[in-house]
Symmetry: C2
Subunit: 314 residues, 2 copies
C-alpha cells in the first residue's frame, strides 16, 4: 500500500535525522491527518535520552537569545539540537515566525540543528495533543538536545512544561515587583530561573526577591537555581548549561525523569481516548439536533442537562 | 431533600446578588462537587445582558489598575460590578490573590462590587469548564458589568476571551518591539488595545506599530481601537469606557453578541460531554490495566494503540 510506504519513508528519514522528513511528520500532525498521526504516535521513545528543555517567561525577556546561545554551546560539543518555538497560532504571527527564523539564521546551514515554529492551537483547538505527537517525533529522531521555547504564561506553557524534563523560566530585572512575579504564575514550574539582562538596574533586587521566595519551597524537592545572564553577550550561559546538567543528574538519580516520562505516557493515552470519543460521538444526527436547539430563541431552548441527555439518546 | 433546599437557597441568594451565596456557588464549582455543579450549570442566562469584558496582557502592564478604574467609573453610574481575577493556580500565588485583594480594597464595603480570584486550573486540570460554570453564576446574579482580568497569553486567556463579549489587550510602551508584540499572540484576540503608561517614552512608537499592524486586519470585521491611558492617574479611562460602549453596540447591531453566546452554549455542551465521558469511562479495572503497563519497563510495554484498544475492550 502506497500509504505505508510513505510512512515507512518518514520513519526511516526520522531515524536518520533528515530535516525534510521531520518537517513532513510535524506537518502531518499539524494538518491533523488522523490516520498518519496515529501511526506516528506509536514511535517508541525512552526516558531521559534527549536533554529536553523548556524555556518560558514573559515576552521580551530574551528567551530567543538564550535559546540561540544554548544551541551554540551544545553545537560546540557536537550535539544535535532541535528547537521548537511555540507560537500562539494566529494569522498575524506569520511575522513572528519569520522574525524567529531570521534570528535563528546562524544555524541555517547546520544539518544538526532543526528549528521549527509550531502553532499553539491545532485546527481542533488543542495544543496539548499536538505537542505529544511532535514531541514523540523529535525524540524518535534522536536529537541530543530538544528545546521548547514558549511565550507567556498559561495552559500552553503548562502543556510544554509537561513535555520537558527541565524548565527554565526567564525573567528580567523589571519583573521585580514581588506581586507581579508571583502573579506570573511561573513559580512552581521553574527548575531553573534565569535573570536575563542582568546588567540593568534592579537586577540584584529581583535576585533577592527570588531567593527569598525560594526559601518557601519544599526542602525535600528540587530547589530551583537562579542564574544571572546577559544572553546577547554570552554572559552566564555556561553557568546555565552547568545547572541544566546538574538538574538532569538529579532527575536520573532520583528517578524523577522516569516519573515524568510515565506521566506523559498516561497523559497521551487519556488525550487519545478523549479524541477517539469525540470523533465517534459527534455524528450527523447529533449535530443536527444541537443545531436545531441553537436556532431557537434563547428562552425556548431546553436546559443544557436535557439537551445533553437527548443528544446521548440519539 | 436537604440538598435541594441548599441549592434553592443559593439560587435565591444569587438572584439577590448576595455575596455570600455567589462565593458559595463559585466554591462549589472550584471544589468540583459534581452534583451541585450540574444543577448550577443550568442557570438560564441571556445574550448581551451583562457587559462582559476581558482584560489581558503581559504581567506588569497595569491590568489591575485598569480594572480598578473601570470599576470606579461603572460604580459612579450605579452599575453593579463583578471582577474575576484569573490566576494561574499555584500554592505560591496565594500571595498574588492577597495582593489583588489589597489593591481592590477601595471596594471592600461596596455591596455592589464582588471581587474574586479564581484559579486557572481546577482540581481536574481544566480551566475551561470551570470558567463556563463561574460565568453562568455571575451572569445569573445579574451584574451589570462582569470583568475578567487574566495574566499572560495562552490557552487560559483564550478560554477567557471565549467567555466575554469584549476583549481588552493592555500593552505598555516597552512592548513596542514589533516582533515581540506579534509574538505575544495578542493580535487577533483584541477588540480594544490599551497602551497603558502612555507617559513613558516609546509610547508613540508602539502606537504607530499597532496602527500599522491593524491595517492588515480584515476590513469587513471589527477593526480594534487603540486607547492611550495612564491608568493610575485616571487618564484615558473615560475614552476606554466609550470604546467599550461602541464595541458593545456593534455586537448587538451585527448580532455577533448572540453568535458569541451560541458558541459558548455549544462549547459548554461539548465540555460537559467530555467530562461525562471521562467520569464514566475510567473505572477501576481500566486504571488497573493502565497501571500494570506503567509498572513495566519502558521497552516491555505495549504500544499506545494496543493499550488503548485493550483498555476500551475491558
Amino acid at each position: 500500500m502506497c500509504f505505508y510506504i510513505v510512512i515507512n519513508d518518514i520513519l526511516k528519514g526520522l531515524k536518520n535525522q533528515e530535516h525534510k522528513y521531520i518537517a513532513q511528520a510535524i506537518s502531518i500532525v499539524e494538518n491533523n491527518s488522523s490516520l498518519n498521526k496515529n501511526l506516528l504516535l506509536n514511535l517508541k521513545t525512552s526516558s531521559m535520552e534527549s536533554i529536553k528543555i523548556g524555556i518560558t517567561g514573559p515576552p521580551g525577556a530574551g528567551k530567543s537569545s538564550i535559546t540561540n546561545q544554548l544551541i551554540k554551546k551544545y553545537r560546540f560539543e557536537d550535539k544535535s539540537v532541535c528547537a521548537l518555538l511555540v507560537d500562539p497560532s494566529s494569522p498575524f504571527t506569520k511575522g513572528a515566525v519569520l522574525g524567529d527564523r531570521i534570528r535563528m539564521r546562524d544555524f541555517y546551514n547546520d544539518s544538526k540543528v532543526f528549528i521549527r515554529s509550531i502553532a499553539s492551537r491545532g485546527s481542533k483547538g488543542g495544543l496539548a495533543e499536538n505537542i505529544d505527537y511532535i514531541s514523540d517525533i523529535v525524540e524518535f529522531s534522536g536529537f541530543d538536545v530538544i528545546i521548547y521555547e514558549t511565550v507567556g504564561v498559561g495552559q500552553v506553557e503548562l502543556d510544554v512544561v509537561d513535555s520537558v524534563d527541565t524548565t527554565i523560566v526567564v525573567l528580567v530585572p523589571e519583573s521585580g515587583d514581588d506581586i507581579q512575579v508571583m502573579k506570573a504564575g511561573l513559580i512552581e514550574i521553574a527548575d531553573i530561573y534565569v535573570i536575563n539582562k542582568y546588567d540593568r538596574k534592579d537586577s540584584d533586587k529581583l535576585f533577592l526577591t527570588l531567593t527569598n521566595m525560594l526559601q518557601l519551597a519544599d526542602k525535600d524537592k528540587w530547589i530551583p537555581k537562579i542564574v544571572k545572564t546577559v544572553a546577547i553577550n554570552d554572559i552566564g550561559i555556561d553557568s546555565l548549561k552547568d545547572e541544566l546538567a546538574i538538574h538532569r543528574k538529579h532527575l536520573i538519580k532520583s528517578n524523577k525523569g522516569l516519573d515524568k516520562y510515565n506521566d506523559r505516557f498516561i497523559k497521551k493515552i487519556k488525550h487519545r481516548l478523549i479524541s477517539d470519543f469525540e470523533n465517534s460521538f459527534w455524528n450527523k444526527k447529533r449535530y443536527e439536533f444541537l443545531n436545531s436547539e441553537i436556532e431557537k430563541d434563547i428562552n425556548d431552548r431546553l436546559d443544557i442537562d436535557s439537551i445533553i441527555n437527548k443528544i446521548k439518546s440519539i
